[in-house]
Amino acid sequence: MWEYSDKVQDHFFNPRNAGAVTEANATGDVGSISCGDALRLTLKVDPETEVILDAGFQTFGCGSAIASSSALTEIVKGMTLDDALKVTNQDIADYLDGLPPEKMHCSVMGREALAAAIANYRGEEWKDDHEEGALVCKCFAVDAVLIEDTIRANNLSTVQEVTHFTKAGGGCAACHEGIEEILTRVMAERGEAYAAGKAAANAPVLTTDPEKLAAAKRMQTILAAIEAIRPNLRRDHGDIEVLDIEGKTVKVRLVGACSGCQMEAVTLAGVQQKLMEATGEFIRLVPVHAAAHA
């Protein structure tokens, strides 16, 4: 299932500051019962210094919701309210050595509980700007509501554009069908038909030319095969050097006892055979003689 960090597991199995703080003078209730995550954060704030003297949580939620709540209380204890407001949901996730993408909303909920509790202390009304839809892109944890809003606000019409604006779909590309469905719906609202075209459904552009990739791989295979041959030649007090590899042509120089040996042609034929076996391709072996080369 989820891959929870040791830190998350520790805060789940041994939650810190569980329960309501006695003499609390700030409370923040956030979350959504339908989604199965809700949190009450209680704080005891020093009225003189605005330092958070104590913090406690009560959470209805999964393992990472409980761990995020626990981490939040540990982070904010001893902070002033102004400093506490600077804590981000990423800080909570980092404190726990990261959360799975599906679980990042747990850290968001913690951040919101903090804002709500501080607003409550200051007699302000906290309004959440929270909107969350079903998770579409699991690689970058982007939900449907964000994608939909972004398409609407920016008049987007291709998957590629959605990826540029939200990152959604920029990883494994498995969610492109979901993104196309949202595009179809939102574009219909503005009276347009979504046309997939080639660009939208295109596979991500390879940064490396497959031709070049193949050439680099071939070069490595050739060098490795030569290395494997060298001990045999050295046993006969000879050796081989690779001077150049250009496509399927390999320029080599036989040295030591091999150089000028009457069996040179046989040796080269053997080397060529080995290289062809290693690469599975025809390899041209060009011997370069010391004199000619110099």
């Binding site: 019962i33 009450r40 209805f60």
Partner: protein, 402 residues
């Protein structure tokens, strides 16, 4: 400490006898059953035997009604898509709100393509209203797909009766029976059921093998076309070893059928009674009077299921939950929602599913483990007071964007 595995509706352990029967077909008789030579000359006969073993378990009239597939999902898709392709003039599908995603996601997709999908509602105990079903049946109905037993609660549906009703309007009837096969007696030759799905790994066979039962004479269009395997009804080289394993598993399931409905059922009942007696504010979901003998689904109010599972896992106990968090979605199980279980309980449902391998000691360990876990998590819950739920929980804790 020995782990306790109570997640058999998710998957089962492959029976050692099944493994033993499979092994020669990886190394000795590895030939393609379509080949003539000696490496595969026993394979054809072995496949035939497996087909007979499966047919016997579900009471098929002919073993040629058994089509081997790769999984339950493939069988479901094949059945529904075939029914639609055979009857292009019929554009309606009837199913239930509590089907497995293998059916619900497919029909949702077909809905976008222009088909009309009726999802039968269930009551608080997960039961269907057959009058509502009857009212929906018409000459526009291409296919009815209703599961034999629900995977989350174990609740059984009256598929035999429903198939007969579908027959009256000329609609095809398919049932996803992956949870029921091997646990309840099935005699297809005496029913109007046209198609039925089986999944190997739910009955101690390996993953990656399934069956589509197709009643002789029912019109059919294959999902996969290609070679002549499965009489051209499901092309692709046979998953030979797994099919042979499934055959043995079906024979074993037949032998254990009574055991499942007596001994395993008694263990399940003991588990439920033990937990309900020790834990306040919890209840059994689904229909306790008509359900699979191995399944217990208990809702623990005011806490969330994933927390329970993580704590159980730490004690070596495996179960599953209908909570949103374990499914990766934002909603609790669609089955709990369809039954109208309140969110504060739906997120705290835990499914314990037993098998013939479950022991009395396993059950006692779980009964001992659950109460303190629930108590610990409730201590963290904003809905829970000193000794019980807070008064008027909905008002006492009403988070901002609930």
């Amino acid at each position: 400490m020995q782990p306790v595995y109570l997640d058999n509706n998710a998957t089962t352990r492959v029976d050692p006898l099944v493994v033993e029967a499979m092994l020669p077909y990886f190394t000795e008789q590895f030939g393609n059953p379509s080949s003539l030579h000696a490496f595969g000359n026993k394979v054809g006969a072995a496949l035939k035997k497996a087909r007979e073993q499966v047919a016997a378990l579900i009471g098929a009239a002919h073993d040629s009604e058994i089509i081997f597939t790769s999984c339950g999902t493939e069988s479901d898709s094949t059945a529904i898509l075939s029914a639609l392709e055979c009857q292009p003039e019929r554009k309606e599908i009837i199913t239930t709100a509590v089907e497995h995603p293998a059916v619900l996601t497919l029909v949702g997709h077909l809905e976008k393509k222009g088909y009309t999908v009726h999802r039968l509602a269930v009551d608080g105990k997960g039961r269907l209203d057959l009058d509502a079903y009857k009212a929906l049946l018409s000459e526009n109905t291409a296919v009815v797909s209703v599961m034999w037993a629900n995977n989350e609660t174990g609740t059984l549906f009256p598929v035999v009766e429903m198939a007969a009703m579908a027959q009256e309007v000329g609609a095809m009837f398919h049932t996803d029976a992956v949870q029921a096969v091997g646990k309840v007696a099935i005699d297809l030759k005496n029913t109007a059921i046209d198609m039925l799905s089986i999944s190997g790994h739910k009955l101690h066979a390996p993953k990656g093998v399934g069956v589509l039962y197709l009643k002789r004479g029912v019109r059919y269009r294959p999902l996969l076309r290609g070679g002549h395997q499965e009489r051209g009804r499901r092309a692709g080289t046979e998953n030979v070893a797994s099919i042979i394993g499934l055959g043995v598993a079906c024979e074993l399931a037949q032998q254990y059928m009574e055991h499942e409905n007596t001994a395993v059922k008694a263990l399940r009942d003991r588990l439920e009674a033990g937990i309900l007696a020790a834990v306040p504010n919890c209840f059994v979901t689904g229909n306790p009077d008509d359900r699979l003998p191995n399944t217990a689904n208990i809702a623990f109010e005011y806490i969330e299921g994933e927390g329970i599972l993580l704590q159980l896992n730490k004690l070596g106990i495996a179960a599953s939950s209908g909570s949103a968090c374990t499914s990766g979605s934002l909603e609790p199980s669609h089955v709990m929602k369809a039954m109208g279980i309140p969110y504060t309980a739906a997120h705290g449902t835990v499914r314990f599913s037993l098998s013939r391998e479950t022991t009395a000691e396993d059950i006692e360990r779980v009964i001992e483990a659950v109460p303190p876990i629930v108590a610990r998590l409730r201590k963290l819950s904003p809905y829970w007071g000193e000794n019980g739920p807070v008064e008027n929980p909905d008002q006492a804790f009403a988070p901002v964007y609930a």
